[in-house]
Symmetry: C2
Subunit: 243 residues, 2 copies
């Protein structure tokens, strides 16, 4: 018999917290299956409707998946929002039925510029990882991808082979994203970008600046340049979907 904390919040919130905590600490490991509603009722001493509400809301929030007649399971790592999703260019290309290939131009450890250190919200100048990758769709370069990565959150970033694993997949697997910032703009290609993407200098490019946080710490800063004529970002979103 487990006793829930004696706080002011409603019971179903305590149950949600209890479940989230146990997900975080890796209880219910391996098959990631949670106790059934009735088992939770027995162990927590609350009614089934209360447990059900907690589970339903956690499911709506994307933490759990449920299957009638089978059980409740911890949801697989989440692709999150449309704006995050558009960032996984490798998956996007494959989904269109095309072939994706990466070419790693740079993978190094650098001392950040003052401006970059500021973006990372660093007090001191600690070194960070830096990568530049070109992504190809059927041998046509479509995206130039520059990333700066916080080594305290993602060690060994500089030892990966990003021609095999996409940087996005690696980062997603290594650290949970709790917050994302995007800035999207249109810029003309500079000489280097034009060369890597095989387009004319001054041609229109979509430029996506992205920062991700893990808790209060900036995890990554990415600068993605899309060859304008060959690419667009798409998303479809249903505000009222809730389950």
């Amino acid at each position: 018999m487990i006793t829930l904390p004696d706080t002011a919040s409603p019971l179903y919130e305590k149950v949600k917290d209890y479940i989230l905590t146990n997900i975080g600490t890796g209880q219910w490991g391996k098959d990631r299956k949670l106790p059934s509603e009735n088992e939770l009722v027995a162990s927590l001493g609350v009614s089934r409707m209360t447990v059900h509400r907690a589970l339903r809301e956690l499911t709506a929030a994307g933490f759990l998946t449920r299957l009638q007649g089978v059980g409740t399971f911890i949801a697989p790592p989440r692709p999150q929002s449309t704006l995050i999703e558009i960032n996984n260019i490798a998956a996007e290309i494959v989904e269109r039925g095309n072939r994706h290939r990466s070419e790693v131009l740079v993978l190094e450890t650098i001392t950040p510029t003052k401006e970059l250190a500021l973006s990372f919200e660093f007090a001191k100048r600690v070194s960070i990882y830096h990568s530049v990758v070109v992504n190809f769709e059927n041998d046509l370069p479509v995206q130039l991808e520059e990333r700066f990565v916080n080594p305290s959150l993602i060690p060994d970033y500089d030892k990966q082979d990003f021609s095999k694993t996409a940087t996005y997949d690696y980062l997603m697997q290594k650290t949970p994203v709790t917050e994302v910032e995007h800035i999207i703009s249109a810029i003309p290609a500079d000489a280097e970008t034009a060369r890597h993407l095989g387009i004319d200098v001054g041609a229109c490019c979509l430029f996506l600046h992205r920062r991700t946080w893990t808790g209060a710490v900036v995890a990554t800063i990415s600068k993605l340049t899309y060859a304008g004529s060959r690419y667009s970002l798409g998303s479809r979103y249903s505000p009222s979907k809730h389950s």
Copy 2:
């Protein structure tokens, strides 16, 4: 005593549909206050818990706001997601402390092209509203805004003065958006765009194509062109917020 439709969907979904429909058709007008839970129980013939669930989920989805002890109200026009929010350029400009002004270039009724009718998912060629507006930030043109509007959902669109009310605000107020599609790309300015935005022909522009649905019906199609050097779309998003 109202009878809900005899479909397969669960009762609380029918109640949600009933409420959404009455919001859309402007029932409960003026003070935008809904009947109390007990009144809905009486008029729909379902239990209070079922009504409560419907109202709670519509509240979570942003359609309603509720105040304990007072009542349930239709939520003010919704800023919703980051991607939708970026579209309200008037609010954005004002928030930056700058002055916003609109200039209406075109406001007319047209017979859509075949392609446009297809985008609207129209079987027949019914006429639609068409507007072109330039949005200024401190007398500097920043966005060219072209919209196509479904007259069956938003009548009188052609009779508004969009130099006073922003098109976005008017549309948001008139119909609830249940789904949104965005396509973002970077394009060079053509002659007409360049003239209206006061930039060079061929200069980089951010181009945002947007379709909104109300239920199964396409409500609006928008083509927004941002002067690239003067504008960028920004957003910040917390995936893990869940209530």
